[in-house]
């Protein structure tokens, strides 16, 4: 299947008084049409910045972005407007992502008109259709955000993104702020919409159980760098990068019959400002060596399974041996 969106060595740096903050550094990723790419990592890994940079809410500092094989790294205003109709975003905080003075109708009205999905005459009907599509009760049409709970608000946010009739949606931790039972409802909704409309998702989250459930492929990020990317099941069965392994083992499991070999990472996360070249996880990695100080390359260690670690063959020897 063709890639709908592709990024090649994408960079996003911020200027801070203390130096250049490398939020996203040389990330290469490919988003297959109709599939979900989960992007996981902990705070400071750059996953949210990555999403925003891809859809041009932030301007990239380097690298390339492709949409349907067209280079969209630098676009003028007119092209950007057109692009926005294809690439949308759903934010994490369902409260601050809605205008507190806009009712549900107000929030959905503008994008519908701007994207040409509706005109003055069909507007009301289109709004109803959209509300039904994302499962908001019709009686809530005139409600304000503070009158709704997190789950409903998030549905409005999804509805707003859909109003532009996009092909690609960046979902930035869309269920992290929701209660578990509401999370499940919203996740189901997003899956249904993907199936029905062939949407492509970039699903950013820190919750590994959620990402496993919803993603076809997963990319793991650490401090702005891409450390591992492969199919969803593959990651959980055969993770290769030391950070991924530690991350997976850190998750508390509800399955109390399984004993987990916990790999505790020592120390704290290092600073993304003026970082040294080379692997950024090295300072906390139990397997670090001198070779880790050189810039790491993304290698295809197994078919479809890419890792950015010079010592992966030794570190994950046990896992690799089971494959052959």
């Amino acid at each position: 299947m063709a890639a709908l969106v592709e990024i090649k060595k994408l960079q996003k740096y911020f200027d801070t008084p203390r130096g250049k903050l490398h939020a996203v550094d040389n990330v290469t990723m490919s988003f297959e049409q109709g599939k979900t790419m989960g992007v996981v990592g902990e705070s400071g890994c750059g996953k949210s910045t990555l999403g925003r940079t891809i859809i041009h809410l932030l301007e990239s500092t380097g690298g390339q972005i492709f949409f349907e094989d067209n280079d969209i790294t630098h676009v003028d205003n007119r092209e950007l407007k057109k692009l926005r109709e294809s690439m949308q975003i759903v934010f994490q905080d369902p409260f601050s992502s809605l205008n507190p003075r806009y009712t549900v109708e107000d929030t959905l009205k503008e994008p519908l008109l701007r994207s040409g999905q509706a005109d003055r005459k069909t507007l009301s009907a289109e709004i109803t259709k959209l509300m039904d599509m994302v499962g908001i009760a019709r009686r809530m049409r005139m409600a304000y955000p503070h009158e709704m709970d997190g789950g409903r608000r998030q549905r409005v946010a999804v509805g707003r993104a859909l109003a532009m009739n996009p092909k690609f949606i960046v979902c930035d931790e869309p269920v992290s702020a929701l209660d578990v039972s509401i999370q499940a409802q919203v996740l189901n909704l997003m899956q249904d919409l993907q199936e029905e409309y062939g949407l492509t998702y970039m699903f950013v989250t820190h919750d590994l159980s959620v990402v496993r459930y919803i993603s076809d492929e997963i990319s793991v990020m650490y401090l702005g760098q891409l450390v591992e990317t492969c199919g969803s099941e593959e990651l959980f069965e055969r993770s290769l990068h030391p950070y991924t392994r530690a991350l997976l083992s850190a998750i508390p499991s509800v399955d109390i019959t399984k004993k987990i070999e916990r790999v505790l990472i020592k120390g704290e996360i290092t600073s993304p400002i003026n970082p040294k070249p080379g692997c950024r996880f090295a300072s906390r990695c139990p397997h670090a060596s001198e070779a880790c100080e050189a810039p790491q390359a993304l290698e295809e260690v197994l078919p479809g399974h890419f890792v950015s670690c010079c010592r992966v063959k030794e570190v994950s020897a046990d896992t690799l041996s089971t494959v052959n």
Binding site: A184, L187, R212, I251, V254, D255, T257, I265
Partner: protein, 331 residues
């Protein structure tokens, strides 16, 4: 070595209401629980279930108004907290009973050095001199994995995980017998969460501290708790040991919670969420509070007041479906 298994903490039929704009919000509706020394009880529920209110009631730090403890007793060893004077309460807060709050970003005073924040609490509850208290504070820092020379630093110089560890240090600095932890790792990254949970468990074992862990994260409960109480709309709807809850949950809400989880070890193709929303605490349903959302609701559920039914030994459940079952068994 035998550990006394009498209840260290016993909450008996606690009822707490909030008044707001003339409306009464039924936050806690007859909660009873027990905790032994050295054990951890997990209090699990979603937002608004009343968990934090319970913890604050134990410490008697509820803002009054608008909150009011309508009835109930809270026994700490052999004393009733409800009957203590403010003076007596101040002696136990921080010393006998300590609390770890949810948000590490705001729980520390930003203008005070963290060493001072720890040492102040120590000096308040023990008779130690300033230098002795400082020394003890530095030992606490080391115990939670922070180098002692960071004693003189300010909160903003620490990351979220480290701040939470400082808060734990403060909580444990006076060797409390009971630790109330309110979502202690929710705001932390998962690898830091693992470190902090490991730390809490370790310290708990060393000091034989009893712990009430409040959380919405079932994974955290599975890793740290001996017993579990599931709370919904201010009531405990299921109570049991860790094995009983995780391997043999009975209440439809508990089952619904497990069904909503994207399971790590399971490749389920579709989640089974609980339909509807948590009820408005100022307008709770009659009878069983969960019945409007319950897939197993029967007619009596909307009218009858449901008591806790003992299923076996330690496993209890507040559900009419089991009332018949148990009654049938007894015949």
């Amino acid at each position: 070595m035998s550990i006394k298994n009498e209840s260290f903490l016993k909450v008996d039929n606690l009822i707490v209401e909030y008044t707001s704009d003339g409306q009464i919000i039924h936050a806690v509706n007859g909660v009873s629980l027990e905790l032994q020394k050295g054990k951890t009880l997990g209090l699990v529920g979603e937002t608004g279930a009343g968990k934090t209110t319970i913890a604050q009631s134990i410490l008697r730090i509820l803002p009054d108004p608008p909150a009011k403890i309508r009835s109930g007793d809270i026994w700490l060893e052999d004393k009733n907290i409800m009957e203590m004077s403010e003076h007596e309460l101040r002696k136990i807060r921080g010393a006998k009973v300590a609390m770890v709050f949810q948000d590490p970003m705001t729980a520390l005073n930003p203008t005070m050095r963290i060493g001072t924040q720890i040492a102040d609490g120590i000096r308040l509850h023990t008779g130690l001199s300033k230098s002795e208290a400082n020394e003890r504070a530095m030992k606490m820092l080391e115990m939670v994995g922070i180098p002692r020379d960071r004693f003189r630093e300010f909160p903003h110089q620490f990351s979220g995980g480290m701040k939470q560890r400082v808060i734990i240090a403060i909580a444990l600095s006076c060797n409390p017998d009971l630790l109330l932890a309110d979502e202690p790792t929710t705001a932390l990254d998962v690898t830091i969460q693992a470190q902090v949970l490991e730390l809490i468990n370790q310290l708990k074992h060393e000091k034989n501290t009893a712990m009430l862990l409040i959380t919405h994260d079932l994974g955290v409960v599975a890793e740290t708790c001996d017993d579990v109480a599931v709370i919904y709309a201010g009531e405990i709807i299921e109570y049991g040991s860790r094995e009983e809850i995780f391997l043999d949950a009975k209440h439809p809400y508990t089952l619904g919670l497990f069904g909503s989880l994207p399971n790590m070890s399971d490749g389920a193709s579709r989640l089974a969420p609980i339909k509807g929303q948590t009820p408005d605490p100022s307008d709770l349903p009659t009878g069983c509070k969960f019945h409007p959302r319950c897939p197993k609701a029967i007619e009596e559920c909307s009218s009858e007041n449901v008591e806790m039914i003992t299923l076996n030994g330690t496993h209890q459940c507040r559900c009419l479906n089991y009332k018949m079952l148990v009654a049938g068994r007894e015949k």
